[in-house]
């Protein structure tokens, strides 16, 4: 759900509110610049306290992967905390040579161990040892986690990052007297990322996969759901964390190539929100982020998911409690009907007046939770409108399917009452207002909107589109989208321990 609000709509909403409150002041306090190297930087002043937050959004995510390197976008995100030639190295010349050796020995070892015929176990062991020795040598020249220690020591908080299907985002907050240190560190990690400890970190990412996917019933269900719903587009590579074979194979060299292609300034947006004086900040931003070498933005993704023509179903039979998911393909976020999907999602899922809550949770008591939402797994490309339900004890996924379909049928055949539609629109507007007070959330929103729409102001504009959605639109879009041939179902059915899967 994109929560957005145009200036006019907000002014209507807040009526005679004081000037500090109107959105015009947020717009007035926002500056945006494109540096010579193509990097876009957005600056929004909020001077309540001497702190600022930022988000760097890279217009690349797991959807930029191809078979063989699935999981690599996320892997690079982990590596972006390992420093640069100037952060984290005791002796860069020695470390550079040692890291080159790690890559050479790894390539030899990897080729030998994956030989399809005549695999020579003794030689594999020997090459593996050479690789491990090279790692031990490289480790001598680095300082563990220097990047995060510098940020921690300076008072940085909330340091983290995430890799989504569409984007990769990096963020934290700092006391405002550390602005120059921040600008140095944040640009440094993309100026010259160094892939030290790559293979240890690959183990860490494998642990993350085991935790999020393999050891979680919901994770296992989602992985099957995504890889069934998409047959061509990379949205179908499971959950974006990567397939185990790729995670066990790709190299630091692969990661460097990925970064070289996608981590270019023209493909990145940095948004800063907080106690920052633009007159002082811009020269500092120019000085440090200007160091990122100019390069052409990557070619847009070629593969488009072909229309679905047959219903698909996957069933997991497990000893855990039942879960239910069904998804329908819908167009990308830039499609004119995007706001109609937003309204449908709100009607079905927002609050205790929502249709799925009232029907499945409150009245039938077959679900502890049920909702339908947009943008799964991303929204930059055609994606899924996804419904899910969590059964209450004694009820089955099929009952949830029936309950969800009944509510979908109402959308398709009955006009949404005017009061219900208005209530949804009011909540969308208020939702935008409520997120304006949080530096960190706002920085991420600004950078994400600028990445997805090419203009951060879309954050405030799209409300007009939502306001224009009519009951007829809802009916039309529901009828076009929610049809059996466009549906993928994934359900987890509970079976007794030891039963056949």
């Amino acid at each position: 759900m994109k929560r957005v609000l145009s200036m006019t709509a907000l002014l209507v909403l807040i009526g005679t509110a004081a000037s500090a409150q109107d959105l015009a002041s947020f717009e007035k306090r926002t500056q945006v610049r494109k540096l010579d190297n193509g990097l876009t930087v957005i600056l929004l002043e909020r001077h309540d306290a001497p702190v600022f937050s930022y988000a760097t959004v890279v217009n690349a995510g797991s959807a930029q992967e191809v078979p063989g390197i699935t999981g690599l976008a996320h892997m690079f995100e982990h590596m972006a905390f390992k420093g640069s030639d100037r952060v984290g190295s005791k002796n860069w010349e020695a470390e550079r040579a040692a890291l080159a050796k790690v890559e050479q020995t790894y390539a030899a070892y990897d080729r030998a161990r994956r030989a399809e015929t005549n695999r020579d176990a003794a030689r594999v062991a020997q090459l593996e040892q050479a690789w491990k020795d090279a790692i031990a040598e490289a480790d001598k020249h680095m300082t563990n986690d220097e990047f995060s220690q510098v940020i921690d020591r300076a008072g940085g908080v909330g340091m983290n990052a995430f890799t989504a299907s569409d984007i990769t985002a990096y963020f934290f907050s700092m006391p405002s007297n550390r602005f120059e240190l921040w600008a140095y560190m944040e640009s440094e990690r993309f100026r010259h990322p160094v892939f030290r400890q790559f293979y240890k970190e690959r183990d860490v990412v494998n642990e993350e996969r085991r935790m999020r996917i393999e050891s979680s019933p919901f994770g296992r269900l989602l992985e099957q759901f995504m890889s069934t719903a998409f047959i061509a587009h990379p949205y179908g590579f499971g959950t974006g964390i990567g397939w185990p074979s790729d995670l066990a194979t790709f190299s630091a060299t692969d990661a460097a190539e990925f970064a070289k292609k996608y981590y270019v300034p023209s493909n990145m947006v940095v948004a800063i929100v907080g106690d920052v004086n633009p007159a002082e900040a811009w020269p500092i931003i120019e000085k440090y982020f200007g160091r990122l070498p100019k390069a052409e933005a990557p070619e847009p993704l070629r593969t488009v998911e072909p229309p679905q023509t047959a219903e698909r179903t996957v069933v997991l039979r497990e000893t855990s409690q039942p879960l239910y998911v069904e998804g329908y393909h819908r167009p990308a976020v830039t499609h004119p009907d995007d706001n109609v999907y937003d309204v449908i999602s709100m009607l079905m899922s927002s609050g205790r007046t929502s249709r799925l809550y009232r029907s499945l949770v409150r009245d039938k008591k077959i679900a502890a939770a049920a909702a339908g939402f947009n943008g799964f797994p991303g929204e930059k490309y055609p994606n899924l409108f996804t419904f899910y339900g969590v059964t209450t004890p004694g009820h089955t996924p099929d009952e949830l399917a029936e309950g969800i379909r009944a509510e979908i049928e109402r959308l398709k055949t009955e006009e949404v009452p005017a009061a219900e539609l208005q209530s949804v629109k009011t909540r969308v507007k208020a939702g935008v207002l409520r997120q304006l007070a949080d530096n960190s959330g706002l920085a991420l929103q600004l950078a994400t909107y600028h990445t997805l729409y090419g203009d951060w102001r879309e954050l405030f504009r799209e409300i007009d589109g939502i306001d224009k959605v009519t009951a007829a639109d809802v009916k039309r879009v529901a009828n076009a989208t929610f049809v059996p041939g466009n549906r993928t179902v994934a359900k987890l059915e509970s079976v007794a321990k030891g039963a056949a899967k």
Partner: protein, 706 residues
């Protein structure tokens, strides 16, 4: 954004900026950060109402929004074990069950159409009723919030819905390994019966009734247990007036007591929960921790930072970055605000490195003692905490929430002002000392959740392994026949009271008593005074004569007959009034003392509460059904207060709080000569005793209907 303006600004800047200022640093060490500009976040205004309610008001005019909350002492830890889950159901049905005048569904419509929220929530030690509203709708939503706070209806259909939700959580609690680990580590650390570790079961949920929710509400929702906090686009003076008008006439009620923490953790050793559908083992280690008021707390905070602070702490450094064993490892010495915490360390790892990880994690605990913090670690930890300190007060909302917390837990309002100074003083010796004092690697209960067939070695190579069965008990199964038993301290406290009053022999020798007193009552008709003579024949017969201005009124209640004689004639009392009165008599303190040895009565001591300047021990008594709470001066056994729920009086269940004072000797026993009674928080009566006769001659017709 006006592009022209920014280009203009840029040109200007380029002209003004000196080359020196543009000097580019090559390494981060070359960057000299200026000192942080001085600032102080506005603090909320504190208002204490005479009825004990505390209000904090914080203006914030950036956005046209107002948020408010009532934080109410009393939470899951105040719920008896056999009703575990009650508080979750209470927190849901409080809002969804609507108010006396509006159903929850009606509230949903009303609020959501205005993008407003009024929500109730339940926590371990408190509940809350909050609101979040556009300023323009405040006048509409404030009365709704007030109505939810004061007049919840707890409609049965929403209690049933909440029970379904809790039962769903029970049914799913063994699905995700991380959830199992967190829950079971807490149960190991505190013992499964601790108020901080109890869990709802189908049977406890089934036993919860609407009356239980109402009783919990009556027990906790009194102004003296409530802290209000409002923030947003309002004028403080106007808001203060509004809240004073709304709450000033609300009388005090009994204070919520804090249960005994009763940390009764598992023995050191290895505990195992088998889960086959996972590729990772989840590992936790626990032993008792400490509490926030510990003077060592600042040193503990610094030690925790060194041990596990973010990516720079030892756990993430060693277990993640250096060894690649885990995605996440964390832990530290727990120090909650008002009860003892646990030391915890936990991580997850692939099944094949389970034992390696257990040793590595335990090794880090040991290393914290054996290899104390280096100067570099100490400076990194302290600078991290102190430089980030600005983030504890970077919004008005945080300043407000801090004051609520400090008020709730009884810490001084300048706690957060003084805190950085305490951190600054922490030395390497302090860190080494607290590590030695509070970390006990040999006393850890180690819990592993995983798929043992894939472990690199059997767990038994670590020693004896205790298997924990987490099978969810089916509804109705495992219901204990007897209520929870008395605890030794409860029995001791009871004996103390018995001795104070005159000793077991003297009390057991009492068959009847006659008490003469002056009663001042607040009635719906106004204040009233009466001379009262009350004759009680144990176990359950009572005759009370009240001399009132309009004549004498006599009430007689026995298990067989119940009637009232007034100048207008004699009338029977309904059976329900009789039963209520008989039940009420059973909760009288003398009746309870006569049943000290009765196995159907249980006595449990737990918690301390200040009653009129005395730190009274709290004794919870189950007198053959129902609950009575006594507050006892521990040194003397003097009974200061009793709290009981009664239906006698006919106006629905009410909570009676009786404060006793001026004890005097009457023959073989002591009795209080002054008793002040409040009913549902309102002053109901004051009794001044003029004479007590023990074992008086009882007229044979005293209890016979004329």
């Amino acid at each position: 954004m006006k592009r022209l303006a920014s280009i203009f600004a840029l040109t200007l800047l380029t002209l003004l900026t000196t080359p020196g200022a543009l000097a580019q640093a090559t390494t981060y060490n070359e960057i000299k950060s200026p000192p942080l500009r001085k600032f102080s976040m506005p603090q909320p205004k504190r208002i204490a109402l005479p009825n004990g309610m505390v209000i904090f008001l914080q203006e914030d005019h950036e956005l046209p929004l107002i948020e408010g909350s009532a934080t109410i002492r009393g939470g899951a830890r105040n719920v008896p074990a056999e009703k575990a889950g009650l508080h979750t159901i209470y927190g849901q049905a409080w809002r969804t069950g609507g108010t006396a005048t509006k159903t929850g569904d009606e509230l949903d419509e009303l609020l959501e159409s205005r993008a407003a929220r009024v929500e109730t929530a339940s926590g371990s030690d408190s509940s809350s009723v909050s609101m979040d509203v556009l300023k323009a709708d405040f006048d509409t939503v404030f009365p709704i919030w007030l109505d939810v706070l004061r007049n919840p209806a707890f409609r049965q259909e929403k209690i049933d819905l909440a029970k379904t939700q809790v039962n769903t959580s029970i049914s799913r609690r063994n699905d995700e390994p991380g959830g199992i680990l967190g829950r079971e580590a807490t149960r190991l650390g505190y013992g499964p019966d601790s108020p901080y570790a109890r869990q709802a079961e189908y049977a406890t949920v089934a036993s919860i009734t609407r009356d239980d929710l109402l009783a919990f509400h009556r027990q906790t929702v009194h102004p003296n247990n409530i802290i209000l906090a409002f923030i947003g686009d309002f004028d403080t003076a106007a808001m203060e007036k509004r809240l004073r008008d709304a709450f000033s006439s609300w009388p005090r009620g009994p204070q919520v007591a804090k249960p005994d923490p009763a940390v009764n953790g598992a023995k050191p050793g290895v505990y195992f929960i088998s889960k086959e559908d996972v590729t990772q083992a989840n590992i936790a280690m626990v032993h008792p921790g400490t509490q926030r008021n510990n003077p060592d707390y600042p040193a503990i905070v610094v030690m925790n930072e060194i041990f596990s602070g973010g990516f720079s702490g030892r756990l993430m450094q060693q277990l993640r970055s250096v060894r690649g064993l885990t995605y996440g490892a964390g832990g530290g010495i727990g120090a909650p605000w008002d009860y003892p915490g646990l030391f915890r360390a936990q991580m997850s790892t692939k099944s094949g490195t389970t034992l390696e990880s257990i040793e590595a994690l335990r090794g880090e605990v040991r290393r914290m003692i054996e290899e104390p913090a280096t100067a570099a670690e100490l400076s990194l930890a302290k600078e991290s905490i102190l430089n980030a300190y600005v983030f504890t007060m970077d919004t008005r909302e945080k300043a407000l929430q801090q004051q609520v917390l400090l008020e709730l837990y009884g810490f001084p309002p300048d706690y957060y002002v003084k805190y950085p100074g305490l951190i600054e003083k922490v030395t390497a010796e302090d860190v080494a000392r607290v590590a030695k004092t509070y970390l006990h690697p040999d006393r850890l209960a180690v819990l592993v959740v995983g798929n043992e067939k894939d472990f690199e070695k059997p767990l038994s190579t670590l020693g004896t392994v205790t298997k924990i069965d987490i099978t969810i008990p089916e509804p109705g199964a495992g219901k204990s026949a007897a209520p929870s038993a008395s605890n030794p301290e409860g029995m001791a406290l009871l004996n103390k009271v018995r001795d104070f009053i005159g000793g077991a022999a003297a009390i057991d020798a009492i068959n009847a008593s006659r008490v003469a007193a002056t009663m001042s009552m607040n009635t719906p008709q106004g204040a009233m005074s009466a001379e009262a003579t009350t004759l009680i024949q144990y176990p359950s017969s009572m005759r009370q004569e009240l001399v009132l201005p309009m004549g004498t009124m006599t009430t007689v209640i026995t298990p067989d007959v119940a009637y009232m004689v007034t100048p207008g004639g004699t009338q029977d009392l309904p059976g329900s009034r009789r039963d209520a009165a008989v039940a009420d008599m059973k909760t009288d303190f003398m009746h309870i003392l006569r049943n000290a040895g009765n196995p159907r009565y249980t006595f449990t001591a737990g918690g301390t509460e200040n009653i009129g300047g005395v730190d009274a021990r709290v004794l919870t008594i189950s007198p053959d059904g129902g609950t009575v709470t006594w507050y006892v001066e521990p040194a003397t056994g003097r009974l200061l207060r009793t709290v009981r729920t009664t239906t006698a009086g006919g106006a629905g269940p009410a909570e009676n709080v009786t404060d006793y004072s001026d004890w005097k000797q009457f023959g073989p026993v002591k009795a209080p000569t002054v008793a002040k009674i409040t009913r549902n928080g309102e002053q109901a009566a004051e009794i001044r005793v003029t004479a007590v006769e023990v074992n008086p001659a009882v007229d044979a017709n005293a209890f016979r209907k004329p």
